[in-house]
Symmetry: none
Subunit: 217 residues, 4 copies
């Protein structure tokens, strides 16, 4: 999986489940006990499937084969589980951004970015829906306010860095439009239309940015 594999506001770097299993072992979650790990994994799945408010601690206990006491040994509260899940992803996003330095032609960077995002979108519907759900549910949104903002600026800067190479003057506007298109498509694909022509839309988007011409007036 590419290092640039996430850049969206509602878009994230990688399969969330992976985060709490094999791939994270070694740099962030290395000291995390197996059981704590399992709780995060199951909680992520349940929050995505049922929503945060509709997932009870007992639900998590049962599915994770863990006692209530143990969960409260590892986590201060239900909220803190959510925060930890989000933080894990955010941290990874930061790390990956730091690591990603491409010397490619900017338009190709855009194309590659688009392809990565669309690929994730298809493979991790549930996790993207979790992100949406959390961002639009006032209660959870409040809890994760800062992280949401942090991620947004992270993404914006990533994109703007690319557009700066295309048109310094319009890079802000271009970034906003680009992110809006990506997010709008994601939203429509995930939650609005029943049979969304994701491939067709993707081709259109790639063509648009591959041959982008800026009128610098």
């Amino acid at each position: 999986m590419s290092k640039k594999d996430s850049h969206g506001s509602i878009i994230s770097y990688s399969k969330i489940i992976d985060i709490f299993t094999d791939r994270m072992v070694g740099f962030v979650l290395i000291s995390m006990s197996d059981k704590k790990n399992k709780v995060l994994q199951i909680a992520t799945k349940l929050f995505a499937e049922k929503g945060f408010e509709n997932t009870s601690m007992v639900n998590i206990c049962h599915e994770a084969n863990v006692s209530k006491g143990l969960i409260y040994h590892h986590f201060k509260s239900k909220e803190s589980i959510l925060i930890e899940i989000f933080t894990g992803v955010t941290n990874q996003m930061i790390e990956m951004k730091t690591a990603s330095k491409s010397s490619q032609e900017p338009k190709l960077q855009l194309v590659q970015l688009i392809e990565t995002i669309f690929s994730q979108l298809e493979h991790d519907k549930a996790f993207f829906q979790l992100n949406l759900n959390i961002m639009f549910q006032p209660s959870t949104r409040q809890i994760l306010k800062e992280q949401i903002e942090q991620r947004a600026s992270l993404l914006f800067n990533s994109v703007k860095n690319i557009f700066d190479q295309i048109s310094l003057k319009k890079s802000d506007l271009l970034s906003y439009m680009f992110i809006a298109e990506i997010d709008g498509i994601s939203l429509n694909y995930l939650s609005i239309f029943n049979e969304y022509p994701l491939d067709m839309v993707k081709e259109e988007l790639i063509n648009k940015y591959k041959y982008l011409r800026i009128n610098n007036d």
Copy 2:
């Protein structure tokens, strides 16, 4: 307010609060009792502010100055309040779509549509957030599945009707892209960025569609 004043998936025709008050009197909700009316109004507000799951029936009772018993006299359940709110808006959307027949040049129709939507977006943030919240919260999404789909196709057809006049061959794709842009901007404005340059983005979008050139290969 123009008759075409809403066409979005996460976009709706008019201020929701209005629906349950003055403007509906006379054609749809004419027989609705004052108290029932009040409950719908307050429930809409609270659902938007706190989310459906975090709004209790007692919250609604208190703010609406109504007894618990009365709510259950008028509504079968908490869910049914949500459904009634949504149905009210959906019905109005249908009605308005039926009524709207523009003979204008298609590109101008698009421009007008964009302006209407952006105007609403600025004036009804809470209600748009309610829509998003409901669509991404698995529990509420399930409850309103059919209406969400109905609205999506309603909007799509409206937009496609316009693009059909521009390019029959590409009208599907153009419609999907147009809606994605609108929804993406709404999403970013409402829930992602702290200080979103809505006016700048709006100008860009208007320019794009005002001078739209289609390459019909």
Copy 3:
């Protein structure tokens, strides 16, 4: 239907539904409005089917096609409906007892009584079950305490009058045994055994009392 058609503690004189319809018109319920009548009828049915506590006033309203206000116009409370139902039956029992004067041979009176009771038992299961339900549910039992006692002594005296003609000395004991047998069979038939050989048991009982010999020591 014979005049002696009920003598049981858990046994009553006649089909309860009849009481609130045609047959009563003319002597007890003559002034009862149709709607009140209907309420009593439906309430009896619902109490029998679901129990007193599990039948709500709204249930009765709906099934009787009557408004809540009207029920409270005719009846002081839910309890008072139950009381009125019971009183109707009790009054009829009293009236019938007064009217029944048989000059038959006492053993034949017993046989006739047995046959009447068994016949009712088969035709009015629901109503007998209502009686049982009410007598053993502490809350309803309390409400109808006096009537239950009144009915018991009414029945006992009826039976004892017959046994007095057979053996003055043992008539009390014989009456208690007779009533116990009748009630026990009813109970077993109505509520204990799945496939009760009612006919076989009835024949046995009839034979026992037809050829009754008393050892008057």
Copy 4:
């Protein structure tokens, strides 16, 4: 207390309160927590006194000095408390039946059975009334349908085993009559007559079965 100390449909093997306290410790309920135990005990008492529908969970909590949450930690629902109470008694009945093997003369077995039942009847009025109340209340009857049937056949088989030794040909009929007499007397004693001559009736019954003569035509 004899091992055969109960065989009735509305009759059970032993003091219910005992079941949840001292006597069970050691073989069935040994692992049951004190609090759960207390809840069953109190619930039994309250259901008997006020009926199932008229006993609220709060009533039970208060009398058992236990929190609402704890009850739901131990029991799935209010219904499940009732089921557990009933199951406890049913299991004991099964166990005792298995254990009881009498080599006595059959008529003496009947006499002994009668004496045991009458003794219980006098000492456990409340519990017998609970059984009746549950069997005749449609809602609770439904919940315990299977157990009621199981108990009925258990009792019937016990009694029939005895009568088989007296008259194979008539053992079915004799069993039904015997059970009806027992149940009828119980019913009359518990719920119909104010001052029931239980001793007199008991003597009569004992005499009847001690000197039973069967006409085997």
